[in-house]
Each structure stands twice: as C-alpha cells, then as structure tokens.
C-alpha cells in the first residue's frame, strides 16, 4: 500500500491528472456495462458515442492547446454553428461543391483564429473577452447568414454524410440472426487523425514545447528566447482552425444548418479538456487526456439518458457537476504542488 502512495506521489501533475481521468472513464464505462447492461455491452454503442462526439474531440484538442498555452477560446461553439450554416447555405442554395465547402469551413475557422489571435497576443487583451465577443459574433452571424434551420439535400454531401466505415470483427448478430457490422463515420477518422497529429505536435515539435513553456511561465519562456507573442498567436490560430474542421465534422454528422447548433459546445470542450487534465493556469495538459475527457463526458451523458433521467436539464447539471469536481481536484493539486515547493 505504501508503495502505491509513493508511486502516486512520484507521478507528475500531468500524469496524475491523466491517470485519474483514464481510471474514471474505465470505471464509469464498466459500471455502465454492469448496471445498465444492454446497450453498453455492444461495441456499436461505444462507436455511436464516438460518432456523435467526433466534432467535440476536435474542438477539445484545439481548446487544450489554447489552454496549455495559457489562453482560452469560448468561440468554438459559435464557430461550429456558423460553419454549419454557411456550408449548408452554400451547398443547398448555391448547389456547391463539397470540397469547396470543406475549404469554406476551414477558412471561417482560420479567420476567427487569426483575428482573435491577433487581439489576444499582439494587443494583449484578455482572451476570455475577445473570444466571448467572438462567440456572440459567430452566433449573430449565423442568423444573419440564414434565420431558419433546414436540412441539406445536396446529393454529394448526403452521400458523404451516410458513408459508413465498417470495422471488421466488431459487429454482432441481431435477433433475426443477421450479422450487423459495427461502423464509424468519416468524422471519427478525421478526429483520430487530428488527435494523433496534435499529440505529435505537442510532444515532438519545437512549437509544441513552446506552448507548454509559454503557458507554464511566460516570463521564463521569454528568457529562453521563445517568441511569446507569436506562440500565443499560433495557439489561438490553431484552435480556430480546429474549430473550423470540427464545425465541418459536426455538419457532416447532423447534416443541417441551424443557429442553435452546438449550443454549449464551448462549455463541453472546456469541460473535456479540464477533465482530461489540462490545467486552466496553463502549462499542463495532454491530448490523450483530452480524448478520454471527451469520452468520459459522453459516457456520463449516455448513462444519464439511459437511466431514464431523460429531461434535458439533467445533462446540463451533470456536466456542470463533473466540471466542478475536476476543477476542485485541479486546485487541490496546485495547492499540493505549492506546499511541496515550500518544503
């Protein structure tokens, strides 16, 4: 027992938070398998969680990077809605090309990232204020682009939306004895690629290490010869870009444009990052943790809805409660660190 506690103590903050998240996720999922049974025993349920939350994984990756760099971006939900609406209008009203729609989505995200990054990094304005304005701007623009929600009927897009990637060996036999293959949507593949890319970026590249350095202590990062302003700028740009991509993945999943799309997505992304062990104070975080953060969040939502607490308010309350608990864990970790430094 003593050994375990020693081992725990020797873990760095980042790894400790990551371990907590992964353990919480597996406990929750196994608990759901035992107590809820049924759906949770099927692999497809897990894949459905992935399908529905692929966009959130992408948004959360961006959010984690910004938070590691000491900033925050709460415009991602608004950008997602704006991307959906713009692409929907382009595809349906102008009979557009899907490929151009992807470019449009990326351009919108990038534009938000560039402007917000400039304001945050070079004009030194609080990121929260800038991105709050960004969020309201994006939501307002969504209604200006088109007021009414509608479904996209563009053929090429619908074909892409319905594309299923079957995962061999994971299916099950239904009651009639037919084999039903397990599948994931294209968005999941995109999300996994982005998780891998961002993991590589943060761990192996100079820029990734600069994000950690600036978030940990901007002053000493400056002393190390890191261009702090440019690093901050790039973190916001990257988050905007990922918001654009995530927006398109969301669009691919729902296939419609509406100003209420992705309501509260910024909150879910922040919550996932925090649950995944990214510190609000910056400098600590891990993309793998974020990935598990999203899964934990999605699993708890599924548990809540399959437990019969179907009313919409329970989701909001459980997410907020979970966020609150993890925030407090973080602040305890910080306090512990300060104490150990003093000793």
């Amino acid at each position: 027992m003593k050994k375990l506690s020693e081992k725990l103590r020797s873990l760095s903050d980042s790894n400790l938070l990551l371990t907590i998240t992964v353990v919480v996720f597996f406990l929750m999922y196994i608990g759901a398998m035992i107590f809820e049974g049924g759906g949770f025993l099927k692999v497809q349920t897990f894949f459905n969680i992935l399908n529905a939350n692929a966009y959130l994984i992408i948004l959360s990756c961006g959010m984690s990077i910004v938070m590691i760099c000491g900033g925050i971006d709460i415009s991602v939900g608004g950008v997602t809605a704006l991307v959906c609406m713009s692409c929907a209008v382009y595809l349906d009203f102008h009979n557009g090309n899907v490929f151009v729609a992807v470019l449009l989505a990326i351009a919108i995200g990038l534009a938000f990232g560039l402007v917000q990054g400039f304001l945050v990094a070079y004009l030194d304005i609080q990121p929260f204020i800038v991105t709050l304005a960004g969020m309201f701007f994006a939501r307002g623009m969504t209604t200006i682009v088109n007021t009414k929600p509608f479904n996209v009927e563009n053929e090429a897009f619908v074909a892409l939306k319905n594309a299923r990637i079957e995962v061999p060996g994971m299916g099950y036999y239904n009651k009639a004895g037919n084999y039903v293959a397990a599948y994931v949507e294209i968005g999941v593949i995109v999300a996994l690629i982005i998780v891998a890319l961002m993991f590589f970026l943060l761990k192996k590249t100079k820029l990734g290490r600069a994000f950690y350095a600036v978030g940990g202590n901007a002053q000493s990062a400056l002393m190390l010869g890191i261009n702090v302003k440019r690093t901050r700028f790039l973190s916001q740009v990257l988050c905007g870009l990922l918001a654009g991509i995530g927006g398109f993945v969301y669009f691919l999943h729902v296939g419609s444009g509406a100003s209420t799309h992705a309501a509260g997505a910024e909150m879910n992304a922040i919550a996932s990052s925090i649950i995944g062990g990214t510190m609000l104070t910056g400098g600590v975080g891990n993309i793998i943790g974020t990935f598990f953060g999203v899964l934990s969040l999605a699993t708890i939502q599924n548990i809540v809805s399959s437990a019969g607490l179907d009313q919409a308010w329970w989701t909001g309350i459980t997410i907020a409660a979970m966020l609150c608990i993890f925030l407090i864990i973080q602040s305890v970790v910080i306090a512990r660190k300060k104490k150990s430094v003093k000793k």
Binding site: I125, I129, A133, R139, G140, M267, I270, W313, A320
Partner: protein, 363 residues
Amino acid sequence: MSKDKSNGSQFWNKIKRSQMLIPLAALLIMVIFNLIADPSFFAIKLGYSSAGYPVLSGYLMTILDCGSELAILAIGMTLVTAACGGQDISVGATIAVGGSVMLRVLCGGNSHPETMQAPIIVAFIVGALATMALGAFNGVLVAKFKIQPMVATLILFTAGRSIAAWVNNNELPIIKDVEFTYFGGFIPGIPIPTPFFIALGCGIIIFLVLKFTNLGLYTQAVGINESSSKLNGLNPDFIKFLSFVILGLCVAVAALIKVSRLSTINYSVIAKDIEMDAILAVALGGNKLSGGKFNMGASILGAYVIQFLTTTLYKFDVPSDALPAYKAIVVIALVVMSAPSVREKLQSIKKSLSSKKVSKEVA
C-alpha cells in the same frame, strides 16, 4: 481672458480624464445618428394603458424601462470586475433560477393559481437567497479555489437554465394577479415605468454604501494588488466573495423585474445574452476589465447606453438573434481602444503631432 482660457482648458482636461467621457461620447454619437436618421425616435407620447391609467410611451421610455435590469446588474458586475479582475458570465442563467424560484413560491403547488399563494416580498426574499447562494458558490470557487472567475461561472452558465427548469418541473407557471405586473410595468397613476425607479433606488443605495463604508476602497485595493492589500490587513478572499454575493442580490432584483414583465418565465429565453450586455456596460463605463479602479456611475450610464444601442438596432429591424453580432463588434472596438499597447501607440502619435506643432510655432 487668459484666465478664462485656462479655466476652460482645465474643464476640458477634467472631462477628458473623467471616466464618464466614454459612455457620454458613445451616447452623443448615437443621439446624433438617430436625430439624422429619424428624429421621431425621440418622440414621447402620453397614452393610456388598458386599465385606463396614463402611461408614457416612446423609444426613450423603452430605453429607461428595459435598460434598468442591465443597470442593476452593472452595479454588481462592476464590483466583481474590480475585485476579481474577471467577470461573472452566469448572470443570465442565475436570473432564470431566481425568477423560477420566485414564481415557484408565488404559485405554491399549482402552476396556474387564481391568486398568489405568498406575498411578493416573501417570494423575493426566497429568490434573493437562492441567487445569493449561487453567487456565494461562484465566490467560493473564485476566492477559495482560485479558479478564474469566467471559468468558475461557466459552471452555472451551463447548469443555471437547467436548474431553473428543474425548480418548476419544466412547467410554465403563470401569475394572474395585476399587482405582480407592477414591478416590470407601471404602477397605476405613475406614467413612468417602475423598473426605472427600482434601478434608481439601487443606484442610490450603492452610492450611499460606497460613500459611507469602505467597500469601494477595499474592493479597489484588492483588485489593484491582492498581496499588498493582504499585507495591509484586508481579507482579499472575503472581499471577492462579498462582491459575488452582492452581484447575487442584484441578480435577484433584475430577476423580479424580468418575471414581472411577463408574469411567467421562459427558461431558455429569459435574460438571454444579458451577461454580454452587463460586461459591455462595465467596459463602456471605462472600467478596467482586469480589475482595480472603478466608477459606478459610469457603469450605470454605460448600461443605459447599451440599451440605447439595442433599441436603435431594433428600430432598424435588426432581428433579435442577430443583435449579438453587432454588439460583439462594439465590444471588440472598445477593448481594442482601451488596450494598453494601442493607447501607447496613440499617445506617441499624439506627441509627435504636438511636438511638430511646437517646433512650427517656435520657427
């Protein structure tokens, strides 16, 4: 003659330095804009309400009426901003909770009672206790656990409306008593909307509190430098906590006005986006969003200026969902102008201009 001139320039300097300059200038720009675009904006008509009482109406009255909740919120938001260097973004959601609790108390068990089941004052006190408890929750997270205010309040920002719906079991209680509509409408015989008087009352109370207690001084001290205020014997955690509780009280007053306007509540729409307006009011009042010094009067004026902007936009048929886009542009313009690096640049440009002038005069 020269004395007059110096007096005049002193006066100008005083105005230039005053925080009131920004909201007043913004107000002036909008007044001129409206005068040119459509002078009928300023018309005030004396009409009669359905019950036969005299009522003033017109766009200006709308501004006085609807800007009042915002002004009340701006009071609390200014204190929170000054003490913590961050803003509370949960005010819209907590208004929903406060309003929901009040209606629950007023309705008792039945959601459509014929008469109110409790006196309004009791409902208000219970609602205020609820919102102050939520404020205290935010305050503990910010003061004790040292979480950034905006992230800490993000929790209630998401959960608030859900809690509000949960309080009333997602039913929509309706109050039929006329008395209850007085707070958000008109008291019979008085042609000026009641919310304005409530805002005025809140303004006077906060003015007296700031004048006769050390609240303002302590709040600014904590906001400017937390550790040195601690060395001077203040308790920064408590001051921060207190600012959130005061904001909770302001939220309760605003919630009373909001639910009184409709005599019912819509959980997802009530006070939607009001957090943005409240922050905007504080920023427009020239207060630093990173904490420290504040000017309460400027914030309150700022709130009415925001409402002026909203009403102007409505008049030009901007749909309510698109409003945030325009306001966001105003926020960005404001914060960019007040950003230190931009200010320095502007000042250096000014200096180079004036030095050129001087050199010309010398020549």
